[in-house]
Each structure stands twice: as structure tokens, then as C-alpha cells.
């Protein structure tokens, strides 16, 4: 910070941007605290309690949880397979043109958010968990493909070359020379993305792609707030469990 006036101008423009944002949205935050605003909010909040804990509903939530887990697991697995194949092209194993095209494809897949993919896949595959699975698979393919390709590019070439020099074919050289080197890294990237995808799969249902999100959306639309609250609590438990488990695993593995 050798030029303090520059920093001052910068901070000034940040403050201006913040004030402009509030003005642009013309948010009436006062209305939330004035008149019957708070009372209405309180009534709405109270209608969520107590959460519905009847046995049939809990069983349904249990299925929703399983469905969410299944969507994330199958979606991630499909992405691992597709990502591994595309990463071979993106790492330049099959020529420069294939490399450029594969990178373009991966960037496109990755830059469209999961929820947008889900809304598109609901059109392509109909309502239900399959659309969510495809949405997760498409976005995650973009993410994993790039990470896999980077791992491939950084892996040593000597083992595969040694195998090829002693007469192995290209496929065998890849499977026994290159793959064992990158596999641990690929695996840890995949597990990390799976963790993210569990959280994502819980909310993809908002556009009709199955799992807990769809249950929450439907119950809120039907004004069944106490049922909605139990779904929210289930989501909260899922997120906390995933967070705790991954933190524990990381500590164990580190």
C-alpha cells in the first residue's frame, strides 16, 4: 500500500457499490420490522412447529434420504467413468485437436450449474430422480475430467514407457504403467466431489429432480409446514453427518 489515496478511492468505490446495491434492489427491510410484518413472519414460523414425526412420514423421509444418497452416488460414478475417458483426450494422449475439443467440452459441462442441468434434464428424462442423477453426472464430469487430466499430465511417463519398450501394447502400458500412479489422486478427487454432490442432490429436487428437495418443495407448496420442517431437519442431519464423516476420514487419512 504505497499509495494510500488509491486504497481510499478503492474502499470508497466498494462502499458506493454496496449502497448502490441496496438502492437498486429497493429492498424495504424496514417493512420486515414494521407494522404486522413481524407478527406475520412469527405466525408463519410457528406453523412449522412441531415437526411431523409420525411413523409413515418418517419412513418416507428415510426413502427420500436413500434416494438422495443414491442420486449422488450414481451421478458421481457416471461422472468418474465419463471424466476418466474424456480426461485421456484432454491430457493430450490422442493428439492436439482431440485435446482442444475435450477441454472445450469439459469447460462447458463444468460452467453450467447443477441446478440448470437438472432443469434441462427434467425436460429430457422426465420428472424424478433419474433427471437429478444425469444433472449431477454432467456437471461433475466437467469438474472431474479436468482434475483427472491434470493428474495425468503430472504423472511420471517412465513406467508406461518402460512397459511399451519391453513390448506391451498402449492399453496395457496405460493400465499397468500410468493408472496405478494416478489412481489414488483420482479416487480422492472423486470422494471429495461425492461429498459435494450429496449436499447438491438434497436440493436438486426443487426443480423436480427427486430426493429430499422434491419432498420439501411439494410439502411447502401444499402448506404442510410441519412436514416440511421434518424434511429440513433430515437435510440438516445429512449435511452434518457428511461434514463430520469427511472431517473424521480426513484426519484419519492425513
Amino acid at each position: 500500500m504505497n499509495r494510500p489515496w488509491q486504497t481510499l478511492i478503492l474502499i470508497g468505490s466498494i462502499l458506493t457499490a454496496i449502497i448502490a446495491s441496496f438502492l437498486y434492489l429497493s429492498m424495504d427491510l424496514g417493512a420486515l420490522t414494521r407494522g404486522d410484518g413481524p407478527a406475520q413472519m412469527a405466525t408463519y414460523a410457528q406453523s412449522f412447529f412441531p415437526p411431523d414425526t409420525s411413523a409413515p412420514w418418517l419412513r418416507k423421509i428415510g426413502w427420500g434420504l436413500l434416494e438422495t444418497l443414491a442420486i449422488s452416488a450414481v451421478g458421481t460414478l457416471l461422472a468418474v467413468i465419463a471424466g476418466a475417458i474424456i480426461s485421456l483426450l484432454a491430457a493430450g494422449r490422442l493428439g492436439e485437436i482431440a485435446r482442444g475439443l475435450a477441454r472445450l467440452l469439459l469447460n462447458a459441462l463444468r460452467s453450467v450449474p447443477e441446478l440448470v442441468w437438472a432443469a434441462l434434464m427434467v425436460l429430457a428424462a422426465g420428472l424424478g430422480p433419474f433427471a437429478g442423477t444425469l444433472a449431477i453426472a454432467l456437471h461433475t464430469t466437467g469438474v472431474l475430467g479436468r482434475l483427472f487430466a491434470e493428474a495425468l499430465e503430472n504423472s511420471p511417463r517412465q513406467p508406461a514407457r518402460a512397459l511399451q519398450d519391453s513390448g506391451a501394447g498402449a492399453t496395457a502400458a496405460f493400465f499397468y504403467g500410468t493408472l496405478p500412479n494416478v489412481l489414488p489422486q483420482w479416487l480422492s478427487y472423486s470422494l471429495y466431489r461425492w461429498e459435494n454432490n450429496i449436499r447438491m442432490a438434497a436440493v436438486l429436487g426443487f426443480v423436480g429432480a427427486g430426493g429430499l428437495g422434491q419432498m420439501l418443495y411439494v410439502t411447502l407448496s401444499l402448506f404442510q409446514q410441519s412436514r416440511a420442517l421434518s424434511v429440513i431437519l433430515a437435510m440438516l442431519l445429512l449435511v452434518l453427518a457428511v461434514d463430520g464423516l469427511s472431517a473424521w476420514l480426513r484426519r484419519r487419512l492425513a
Binding site: V74, L123, A124
Partner: protein, 279 residues
């Protein structure tokens, strides 16, 4: 060529059996998952779905570039940007006090023993618990709830970002305070200064850089999040994408996605410039 091996063993793969078993086991474990997700690629080429999707995809080109639509798009993009900025500002207002309450580095009782006294540790737990609850419910769930409580529009999105991000920022801020050199703050506290003064003169100078860069990173995340939240009716670009998809207006979807990418890219550049200048 391998020499001297008996011909029977020449192509034997020592790892084949374990790999085969692993694959079979994985498939058996995954089978219920495939059933639960109603995994059926045939639906993709089902004539009904395929014709819908085909018409939709055919509409993707050319992108909609009519001036009227571009004006709408610009408004929505600005709205998304404003949602992220306003939401993050409100989150900061909540996060800073919570992080000051939750951090161990301003503990007076730890001056003697190095560990905070048991009761004051217990007093910090409620704040930490509140922050965990705030950040563990995904922002889009908050948005969905707020849309029903305060109505459609960006206000719901701003509140959702404010709530989730206050939990995230508060937790990380408290950790950053604890990660910087504690000696200045301790010296100040020991010589009788107030905790707030100890924070401003003992901790903030060391932590400011990291705090700024984390906040900017969260601002980028907030932009992405506010795009997504439009899908539940919280305004901005997301709401436009949702509407265009429902109306099968492929050309509009392409234009909106392009402007979303541009927005993310610009935010990325802007925040890296700010990080260089401020941090």
C-alpha cells in the same frame, strides 16, 4: 518380449482376480442405487421426451439477441450482482459480532493458564452452534422459505445469502483470529485494555489480509449462489433461466447462460484485482 516364462503364464495378469472381485462387489453394492434413481437411459431416447428435447435444442440456435430481451437480461444481471453484494454486506453485519463472541483469542481467562476457563468455553458454544445451524442449511432452502414468507423477488435471495454466509464467515473469521500471532492481543489485554481495543490493535492488523481475501472469495460464491436461487423465485438471472426453460425458449436460455458465464468471469477478475490492491 518376456523370455523363459512357460507359455501358459505369459498373459497371466496377477492383479486380474482381485480387480474382478472388486468390480463385482461394487456393482452389487450399487445395484439398489440404480433401482432407487430409476436409472433408465431408455427414457432419453423415448420418442416423446426426445422430440420435446429435440425441439428445445433446435431452438438453442440462434441465441436471442433482440434489444428488448437484452435490456431485460441486463436488469437481471445487475439484480443478481446487487443481491450478492447486499446479501454479503448483511452477512458481515451478523458475522463480525458472532465471530468476536466465538473466538478464543480474546479470552481474558486464558491469560493465566493458556486455556480459557471452562465456563467461558461453555458460553461460546451457543454462538458456535448457531453458526453451524445457519450455514448447514443450504442457502436455496432458506431462499425457498423466505420466498414464502416475504414474497417473490430479490429480497428473499438477499436474506438467504445473509443467513447462510453469516454462519460461514463467522466461523472462518473466528478461526483466522485464532491463527494469527496472539502475543500483541495478550499484551494489550494484560496491560488492561478492553477486548475491543485488543482486537483492533492486537489482532486485526495481522488478520486483515486473510479476512479480506476470504471475504472476496465468498463474494464470488455469493454471485454464483444468487444465480441459482432465482430458480425458487428469488429474482435475478436464475428466475429468467427457469422461465425460459419452462417456455422452451432455447435461444433465450443460451443468451442467459452466456451472460452468467460472463458475470462469473468478470467477478473473478474484479475480486483478484481487489485482492491484489487491498491485501
Amino acid at each position: 518380449m518376456p523370455v523363459g516364462l512357460p507359455p501358459r503364464n505369459r498373459w497371466r495378469d496377477p492383479a486380474a482376480l482381485p480387480r474382478l472381485l472388486m468390480t463385482v462387489a461394487a456393482l452389487i453394492i450399487l445395484w439398489p442405487g440404480l433401482v432407487l434413481t430409476e436409472f433408465n437411459p431408455a427414457t432419453l431416447i423415448d420418442p416423446d421426451n426426445a422430440s420435446v428435447m429435440g425441439r428445445f435444442l433446435a431452438g438453442f440456435w440462434p441465441p436471442d439477441l433482440s434489444p428488448r430481451f437484452l435490456a431485460l437480461l441486463a436488469t437481471a444481471t445487475l439484480e443478481t450482482l446487487a443481491m450478492a453484494t447486499a446479501g454479503l454486506t448483511l452477512a458481515l453485519l451478523l458475522a463480525v459480532p458472532m465471530s468476536l463472541l466465538a473466538t478464543r483469542s480474546l479470552s481474558v481467562s486464558s491469560l493465566l493458564t493458556g486455556q480459557p476457563a471452562r465456563w467461558s468455553s461453555v458460553a461460546r458454544y451457543p454462538v458456535r452452534l448457531v453458526m453451524i445451524l445457519l450455514r448447514s442449511i443450504p442457502e436455496i432452502v432458506w431462499a425457498l422459505l423466505f420466498v414464502r414468507a416475504v414474497g417473490l423477488g430479490p429480497t428473499a435471495g438477499v436474506l438467504a445469502i445473509a443467513i447462510t454466509y453469516s454462519g460461514m464467515l463467522g466461523k472462518v473469521y473466528a478461526e483466522i483470529y485464532e491463527s494469527v500471532d496472539q502475543a500483541p492481543a495478550r499484551a494489550l489485554l494484560q496491560s488492561g485494555s478492553s477486548r475491543l481495543a485488543a482486537f483492533f490493535y492486537g489482532i486485526l492488523p495481522g488478520a486483515a489480509q486473510e479476512l479480506t481475501s476470504y471475504t472476496l472469495y465468498r463474494w464470488e460464491c455469493a454471485i454464483r449462489a444468487s444465480v441459482i436461487m432465482g430458480f425458487v423465485g428469488a429474482g435475478g438471472l436464475g428466475q429468467m433461466i427457469d422461465l425460459s426453460i419452462r417456455m422452451f425458449a432455447g435461444g433465450e436460455v443460451v443468451t442467459i447462460l452466456a451472460s452468467f458465464l460472463l458475470l462469473v468471469l468478470l467477478a473473478d477478475q474484479l475480486s483478484s484485482v481487489l485482492r491484489r490492491r487491498l491485501a
